[in-house]
């Protein structure tokens, strides 16, 4: 998903930048006829895109945690500067993570072997912070900290294995 987001960003950013560059380079006295009509269309168009994207992206709540069909529930505890995971091996399929912290706010993030972030949640003191991920590939996965938590924040790393069936 990340590279798709990068591509969309760069295309839209380049389009907006091009509007400014074209305007700066346009011949003096270029009168924009129908500018207000174009502005109205732009507002309506942007609003429609926003409503559609919001509806599609929120229709299935991104933070929903399944009650059924869960392959495993894993309890994770973070502290300065460690991750404790109550199991070293989790099964393939849908896994729910309950993340808690012993001290400050941490960011519980899971990456694959290539370092690509798959899912994350903030770990707020005093709360059980729940997230889920469906593992489709066996292998080693890393847990990293994605919220600045002090001097060894970058060293707060652990691993777990996703077992083959």
């Amino acid at each position: 998903m990340q590279l798709t987001v990068l591509a969309i960003s760069l295309i839209v950013m380049a389009f907006i930048a091009a509007q400014f560059i074209t305007a700066v380079r346009s011949a003096p006295g270029t009168v924009a006829t129908g500018a207000e009509r174009l502005r109205s269309r732009l507002i309506i168009g942007l609003a429609i895109v926003g409503l559609v994207v919001s509806a599609v992206s929120l229709a299935r709540w991104p933070h929903a945690v399944a009650a059924k069909g869960v392959a495993a529930v894993v309890n994770v505890s973070g502290g300065q500067w460690y991750w404790e995971i109550d199991t070293a091996q989790v099964p393939l399929g849908l896994v729910v993570f309950n993340a808690q912290t012993a001290d400050v706010t941490h960011g519980f993030g899971i990456t694959d072997a290539d370092g690509t972030i798959l899912v994350q949640t903030q770990v707020i003191p005093g709360y059980v912070n729940r997230t889920q991920y469906t593992f489709e590939q066996p292998g080693t996965y890393r847990v990293v900290c994605l919220e600045y938590c002090g001097v060894a924040h970058h060293d707060m790393i652990n691993e777990f294995e996703v077992a083959a069936r």
């Binding site: 998903m1 990340q2 590279l3 987001v5 990068l6 969309i8 960003s9 839209v12 950013m13 907006i16 509007q19 400014f20 305007a23 700066v24 003096p28 006295g29 009168v31 924009a32 500018a35 502005r39 732009l42 942007l46 926003g50 994207v53 919001s54 992206s57 929120l58 991104p62 933070h63 300065q80 400050v104 706010t105 960011g107 993030g109 990456t111 370092g115 972030i117 798959l118 899912v119 994350q120 949640t121 903030q122 707020i124 003191p125 005093g126 709360y127 912070n129 729940r130 997230t131 900290c145 994605l146 919220e147 600045y148 938590c149 002090g150 001097v151 060894a152 924040h153 970058h154 060293d155």
Partner: protein, 493 residues
């Protein structure tokens, strides 16, 4: 009885305060440069080009964040004050108190970081200031937070003076926000000028943000002094990010006043308060206050409606910017016979950078995207676009305008182009800035976390290229600040 015309005060009414504003911009320019050097050091350290101990790295990171946000606010407030002073008389003593409290706050913050070892980031996320893992003591945290309180009190004074004067002249908050026009009962010719509308809106939301910030600062200070006094961490985070989000947005919205007031001199056409402009600023006022949950999209204990609101408002916040300010500027530019100089170029860049930067920010404001992009380098990627190429560009543009040469009134159409050293400096700033932020975005897309003192070799390429681009930006910014300083010194002789 109030009047609601756009007539400006005579220069004699606001001229005497020009010196204070010029001094502020000099201080702002120097601090921007210093903070950019801190940024370069961090990127070079992440790229393995220099060795920086993680404890020092996080101190530099804290100083960079607090320094950049604070200086963006400082320069934005100076612009707000300068141009509001064209329309209503302002009390000079309030500005000096603001500047004095700001500098006192800076001293506290620098002492807390570099003498006390505080490295809890500019966001002082509760309870990190109290739980440093032995790196710094509660005294350093208290000093840091008191520095914020001092700066916040200064801003409150400034905004209250601005709002008091605008309300008296334009008929209350609604009058200064051009609500009669927005709601279809007023005429454009009776509406206050764009600078007044922007000054009122940004003063209202920044005041609300600072009041909430003061509450969480005091709670954090009490927690440090009396550890038994605990605060709900999620509530504290909401308050911190409400304050932080509003403050940095206010910086940009205050700085854009320079665009409304200065660019018409170059465009040969006034920037008027139209109905769509008035509506847009009222929408901005509401959205700036309502959108802050987009910083908490991965805080799963938050109510779902708040996160959904954060995502939706995040998207719709882009419409007033793109369809009103950016669109109007593009239309004006196409029609105008622009006489370019550094001031005009940087101010146009500021609006363009702000607009372009809203794209990756809006995408990151979607929960499904945020789930894999939050707290990666994507985040500094988007905010550096609308700060480095947005607010800071506007501030530098304002500085260049303060020391500008008179425009040649008889210049042939299109004759006055940005040329020579100006062209080189401007292009270095744009290219360096664009390259710098692109490296953040690429790293974010490759899942490189933000705020890590130590990077793995796989990430070095972007870090090192970013360091080079940062050096380009610093070189250009150095020339802009030096020229500003030299002209001020020459005129003072």
């Amino acid at each position: 009885m109030t009047t609601t015309t756009g007539a400006m005060l005579p220069e004699a009414a606001y001229g005497p305060q020009e010196g204070a504003v010029k001094l502020t911009m000099l201080l702002g320019g120097v601090v921007f440069l210093l903070m950019m050097i801190f940024g370069l050091i961090m990127r070079a350290a992440q790229g393995g080009m220099i060795a920086v101990d993680p404890a020092l790295f996080y101190q530099i990171m804290t100083a960079h964040g607090a320094g950049m946000v604070g200086t963006a606010g400082l320069t934005g407030a100076a612009i707000l004050w300068y141009f509001t002073g064209r329309h209503v008389p302002l009390l000079a003593g309030v500005y000096w108190a603001f500047l004095g409290l700001f500098l006192l706050g800076v001293v506290c913050i620098l002492a807390a970081i570099f003498l006390g070892g505080y490295a809890g980031a500019w966001t002082f996320l509760y309870p990190l200031p109290a739980l440093s893992g032995g790196l710094w003591g509660p005294g350093a945290s208290v000093l840091f937070l008191l520095g914020y309180v001092s700066i916040g009190v200064g801003f409150l004074l400034l905004h209250l003076e601005v709002m008091r004067r605008l309300m008296a002249r334009y008929g209350g908050i609604g009058g200064a926000l051009a609500w009669p026009l927005a709601f279809g009962k007023g005429r454009p010719e009776d509406a206050p000028p764009p600078a007044v509308v922007a000054a009122m809106a940004s003063s209202v939301f920044n005041t609300l943000g600072i009041v909430v910030g003061a509450a969480v600062l005091v709670a954090s200070i009490v927690n440090l002094l009396v550890p038994g006094f605990a605060v709900d961490a999620l509530l504290a985070k909401n308050m911190i990010f409400f304050f932080g989000h509003v403050f940095i947005n206010a910086s940009i919205y205050m700085a854009v006043i320079a665009v409304y007031e200065i660019l018409p001199e170059y465009l040969g056409k006034p920037w008027k308060t139209t109905r769509i402009f008035a509506i847009a600023w009222t929408v901005v006022l509401v959205f700036v206050l309502a959108v802050y949950p987009h910083h908490l999209l991965q805080d799963v204990p938050m109510p779902g409606w708040a996160l959904a609101m954060g995502q939706i408002v995040s998207y719709f916040s882009g419409i007033p910017l793109i369809a009103v300010t950016a669109f109007s500027l593009i239309v004006y530019l196409r029609a105008a016979d622009m006489r370019w100089d550094m001031a005009a170029a940087l101010l146009v860049l500021g609006v363009a950078g702000w607009s372009v930067g809203s794209v990756p920010a809006i995408l990151d404001g979607m929960i499904v995207v945020n789930k894999v992009m939050h707290n990666t380098q994507w985040v500094p990627g988007h905010f550096h676009i609308y700060l480095l190429l947005g607010e800071v560009a506007m501030a530098f543009g304002f500085m260049a305008w303060l020391v500008r040469r008179p425009l040649a009134a008889d210049a042939r159409p299109g004759a006055a182009r940005l040329s020579g050293l100006d062209h080189g400096v401007f292009m270095a700033y744009v290219a360096g800035g664009a390259g710098f932020v692109l490296m953040f975005l690429v790293s974010g897309a490759l899942s490189v976390p933000r705020r890590w003192a130590v990077h793995v070799p796989d990430w070095f390429l972007q870090d090192r290229l970013a360091t080079l681009f940062a050096a380009m930006v610093i070189g250009a910014a150095l020339i802009i600040v030096l020229r500003y300083t030299a002209v001020l010194a020459r005129r003072a002789e």
